[in-house]
């Protein structure tokens, strides 16, 4: 009779598989630098467009900075999410991953954390550039926490939906259409919380938005974890 491995072993295997997938994504990106460079240049172009579209004088900057930052991150994010899943699909990597004898959630968390890392790298470059260009200090620990939580929520849903979008006929066109209406609570609360920190508002004003971000992250991490199996099933 075959005995199933003890649960602690299973957990360790899943963890190892997750790390392996993250490592694979990072190594591939380190060699090609396709995705990060595209996301980065695109982000800077979006900021440039906002610069002309909104006439960012000193007064406007104070209030719209958080909105511009999040719009930039959201647009650049879809670029990265699409690319990251398209690579898996085009070269048959996804089938290989699915054949591997590991839990499917390891694939999901591996891809999601990989995407999160890429998004954070882009943000880590865009923030100082924006600070220099517009002479605004963006290095507030609260703001950085909001950016981390917001990116997490965005990526958690985005990874799941990009795995779906990549299997459709319209592919990359579809991702923003699927993603933006569902991820809207993240964008609303992240913009509001960032704005609160930038304008040095009281914590009591920022707290509801901050909590909402946390709630969204927790709920959607759990939901995506449960649903992902159905998305990649062949």
């Amino acid at each position: 009779m075959k005995t199933s491995p003890p649960p602690i072993n299973l957990l360790r295997r899943t963890f190892q598989a997750t790390v392996a997938i993250i490592w694979k994504d990072l190594a591939a990106e380190m060699r090609s630098r396709e995705m990060l460079s595209a996301m980065l240049v695109f982000s800077l172009l979006v900021i440039l467009i906002f610069n002309f579209a909104l006439e960012l004088d000193i007064k406007a900057r104070q209030t719209v900075t958080s909105g511009i930052l999040w719009a930039t991150f959201a647009f650049a994010g879809t670029l990265g999410l699409n690319r990251s899943m398209a690579i898996e699909k085009d070269r048959g990597c996804m089938d290989g991953l699915l054949l591997a004898p590991v839990d499917r959630s390891a694939i999901y968390f591996g891809k999601a954390i990989g995407n999160l890392v890429f998004m954070l790298v882009v943000e880590a470059i865009v923030l100082p550039v924006y600070s220099v260009l517009y002479n605004i200090n963006l290095f507030h620990p609260g703001l950085l926490a909001v950016i981390l939580l917001g990116s997490l929520g965005y990526v958690v849903v985005g990874t799941l939906l990009s795995a779906m979008a990549v299997q459709t006929r319209t592919r990359d066109v579809l991702l923003p259409i699927l993603l933006f209406p569902v991820v809207l609570p993240v964008l609303i609360s992240a913009v509001k919380a960032s704005q609160g920190f930038l304008l040095a508002a009281e914590w009591t004003e920022i707290a509801p938005w901050f909590n909402l971000l946390l709630v969204y992250d927790v709920i959607f991490t759990a939901a995506a974890f449960m649903i992902f199996d159905y998305v990649v099933e062949e």
Binding site: R169, K192, A223, V231
Partner: protein, 232 residues
């Protein structure tokens, strides 16, 4: 082809009669609201259509869970039917809301909690529809549709909560008395009768249409299978 079920034919007739009564109640039974006048009468169908819109949304998510567990194509047909009907009803709710908002708030549209959420829900329905359009494999189409319906249903209440944190001016007529709401009013008993009657009629109408749409879905599935058989 299976003939139209007897019960469905009865339900159709009942729906038509009940609906005509609802129109009669709205125009002749319900009293004229003092400050808003005739335009207030749109309220009865406005809330009823919005209710059906949300109902279909929840039905689709619930049925989505059942589909993922059972893998039976009937549940997918029900989910698609619910969303298609709700898409239309919700749109009617938005349009009737605009008709009312023009005299009451002096604008067709405002970025209020419910209006914004309604717009987002419509966009989600549209995204759901586009997602299905892009997938040829029927089984995959059903699976992805279910997944998206579930995700959307989790996200919409959070969206509502997040926009609610911003200020709202939409009146809460049933069970709420926010003094800042503009265009709110308290219902007289006759208004209440008309209101709840409309809600019930629209719910029955939803069931009737859902039934028709499910039959259509099943027939479409059958045609699909016959086509495959022919080409094979």
């Amino acid at each position: 082809m299976t003939p139209k079920p007897r019960l469905l034919a009865v339900l159709d007739t009942v729906c038509i009669v009940l609906f005509l009564i609802a129109v009669g109640l709205v125009f002749f039974y319900a009293p004229l609201e003092r400050s808003m006048g005739q335009v207030q009468r749109v309220f009865y169908f406005h809330v009823a259509t919005a209710w059906v819109g949300m109902l279909g949304f929840m039905v689709a998510a619930g049925v989505g869970v059942v589909y993922l567990r059972t893998n039976h194509s009937l549940w997918d047909i029900v989910g698609l039917a619910a969303i298609e009907i709700s898409l239309v009803f919700f749109f009617v709710a938005i349009v009737t809301g605009s008709i009312w908002a023009r005299p009451a708030w002096n604008t067709w549209w405002t970025w209020d909690t419910r209006l914004t959420t309604a717009a987002i829900v419509e966009l989600i329905y549209a995204a759901y529809w586009m997602l299905r359009q892009g997938i040829e494999d029927a089984e995959k189409r059903a699976r992805f549709g279910a997944v998206y319906a579930i995700l959307a249903c989790i996200s919409v209440p959070i969206t509502f909560a997040s926009i609610r944190l911003l200020r709202t001016i939409h009146p809460v007529v049933v069970g709420g008395g926010d003094p800042n709401a503009e265009g709110g009013f308290s219902m007289t008993p006759a208004m209440r009768v008309t209101f709840f009657y409309s809600l019930i009629v629209f719910s029955i109408l939803f069931v009737d249409m859902l039934w028709h749409r499910i039959r259509l879905g099943q027939l479409a599935e059958k045609v699909e299978q016959l086509k495959l058989k022919l080409s094979a």
